[in-house]
Amino acid sequence: MKTLALFTIFVLIFGTASSSFSDAYAQNDPTVLLRIATQADTEILNQLENSYGDSVPSDVQALYEKGNAAVESLESSLSDNVEQAKEDFLIAMKSFRQISNLISEPSSETKSIPSFDRDLESELNRLYKYFQSLKTISQKHNTGIDFSEIEQKFVLVREQINSDMHDESTKTLHELESLIHVKNQKIREHSSNSASDRIIIFALKQLEKIQKMLDDPTLDTSMPEFAIAISLVAEIETLISEDNIPDAKEKFGELNKIMKIIKRSNGQ
């Protein structure tokens, strides 16, 4: 009996612990910390040289020395004191961040992205990723939509960006956005048929469940929501049979709200 009890406890503990096992282990890899801290140290040193040359202000110098010392401590504590290494990492990164703040133009305000100077390459890469997602969906559902024009435009705009043809590349990017938007609509139209089937299957299943709930003898049928629900179920069934999916969806939303009220008042 004792063996069984011990075993069950063991299984439970192991099962619970195993869920966080990988994370706990991963966080114990201290080499990552050294890599990041060393990278930051090198970058900050370069920034200091570029910004101040040989005349680094004393407060900045003190911050750098603190950060650098923390990196060195991190390196030495890696092998035997992981907790110390973590602490060193945070100290170093905090110091480097403070230095970065000081090096950055003090008067400059924090900007959100839309006010940044436009980076056409980033824009192109984002758009290309979006295009790839749509193309994959399109191919999966055999829409037969032709993307060759878009692909050619992508080649063109990349060449334009590489050749620093700013105006031309901006224009081509706009054209691409419009073209992708049109293709997106076509994909949605094409997939609306299969979407309708999916929605019908879902709605019919849900209607069956709702009907069962409404048949519950304990339900207070005198409440006005009950009659509305019954009427909505009938209405949705009619709309589905007429293949009027948009209206059926709308009514279904209404029905869900009514059912929530009924459930609440019925103490479910």
């Binding site: 069984l4 009890a5 299984v11 099962g15 619970t16 195993s18 869920s19 994370d23 282990y25 991963a26 966080q27 890899d29 201290p30 080499t31 990552v32 910390l33 050294l34 890599r35 990041i36 060393t38 990278q39 930051a40 090198t42 970058e43 370069n46 920034q47 570029n50 890696l78 092998s79 990492f89 945070l90 990164m93 480097f96 961040r97 970065s100 703040n101 950055s104 133009e105 400059s108 924090t110 900007k111 959100s112 992205i113 940044f116 436009r118 980076d119 390459e121 980033s122 890469n125 984002r126 990723k129 997602s133 969906i137 999966k140 559902h141 994909i187 949605r188 979407a195 299957i201 869900n256």
Partner: protein
């Protein structure tokens, strides 16, 4: 007033008030089917890590572009029983939102502020991709990424960027195609980076790298645990089989005993007359019980005694307890029942 310290442990008392207290160490054996219990626990333990609530991302990957915009890819479990899902976006400036379900169907979405209403209609997993401009800000030359992540996530920093500040500890870092890829824990994370003079740095020289040792050690532990589990399960299965075999044999023996005519006295039955001589003060009804037990091979279930003598449970229990106190019988647990046995050492006590 003198206070008396009283032990909180309840004293075991044998009250003659008819209350039946069953003290048994085999209660788990008898009440719960061991293999069933073990199997259930293993299943619970196995599925525990898998369990996650709806709307918590299964995976979350972010790519920061050089202009600070961020591409978000995520995979989320959704409730297949509801028609739509409110997807929390990480901001309100969203571009290129694409949501597909597990079958690759493009789902309709509507962005409302910083969330999107996705028409899931029976889908159980959704794959979401979008670009967002709210996660990175810039001050001077320093770029700051901030996210309060609902789960662990991976983050690709732009090329030629160097991390110069970080508020929390990363889980991992890799360099892929000259880009830093960080793995970070859920919760708030702030990362400061610069497009710098120094590029991403390859692995520095690391003194003593304990990671591989930990790696091996961890695998050893996992292997050991797995082996132990297998062995224990094996032993338990074997034990269960043996127990089953024994209980089958036991039942067969009892059945055989029951079929024996009451007049046929078992050779091993303790002589009742001897018992009565040793215990001359026994009540007549108790003597009847002893005779019956003796005629049943020296042992009988308490329930059978009740049936035989048509006595209520409490009355029979008191009688049995009396006999036990007199040292004539002993009580054992058998399948949650009391097995009443005539003691073989009565004569020795004499």
């Amino acid at each position: 007033m003198n206070q008396e310290i009283v032990s909180m442990y309840r004293k075991e008392c044998l009250r003659d008030d008819g209350m039946l207290f069953v003290r048994t160490e085999a209660i788990f054996d008898t009440m719960i089917k061991t293999p069933l219990l073990v199997a259930s626990l293993i299943i619970v333990a196995a599925i525990m890590p898998v369990q996650s609530s709806f709307s918590s991302p299964r995976a979350l990957d972010l790519i920061i572009y050089p202009d600070g915009s961020t591409h978000v890819s995520t995979e989320i479990d959704v409730d297949p029983l509801v028609a739509d899902f409110e997807l929390d976006l990480f901001g309100s400036t969203i571009d290129n939102l694409v949501v597909v379900n597990e079958n690759g169907f493009l789902l309709n979405t509507e962005i409302i502020g910083d969330f999107a209403l996705v028409e899931t209609f029976g889908s159980s997993i959704i794959f979401v991709e979008y670009d967002i401009h709210d996660l990175v800000s810039k001050q001077g030359r320093m770029w700051t990424f901030y996210l309060d992540a609902p789960s662990d996530f991976s983050l690709f920093l732009p090329k030629n960027s160097a991390i110069v500040g970080m508020t929390n500890l990363p889980i991992n870092m890799e360099i892929i195609r000259d880009q830093n890829q960080l793995t970070l824990s859920s919760g708030e994370a702030e990362i400061n980076y610069l497009f710098g003079t120094s590029h991403t740095i390859s692995d520095p020289v690391i003194p003593d790298n304990p990671a591989p040792e930990i790696d091996d050690f961890v695998f050893l532990i996992i292997g050991g645990i797995a082996l132990t589990v297998i062995v224990v399960i094996g032993i338990m299965v074997m034990r269960t089989k043996q127990k089953t075999a024994k209980s089958v044999l036991g039942k067969q023996t009892i059945q055989k005993t029951e079929t024996v005519d009451t007049e046929t006295v078992d050779t091993e039955t303790v002589d009742t007359e001897t018992i009565f001589k040793i215990k001359p003060d026994l009540r007549e009804d108790d003597k009847e019980i002893v005779r019956f037990i003796s005629n049943n091979g020296g042992e009988v279930l308490e329930s059978d005694l009740r049936k035989k003598f048509l006595q209520p449970r409490t009355t029979m229990w008191r009688a049995v307890k009396r006999l036990e106190r007199n040292g004539i019988i002993e009580i054992e647990k058998k399948d949650l029942q009391n097995l009443v046995k005539i003691r073989k050492d009565i004569e020795e006590e004499k």
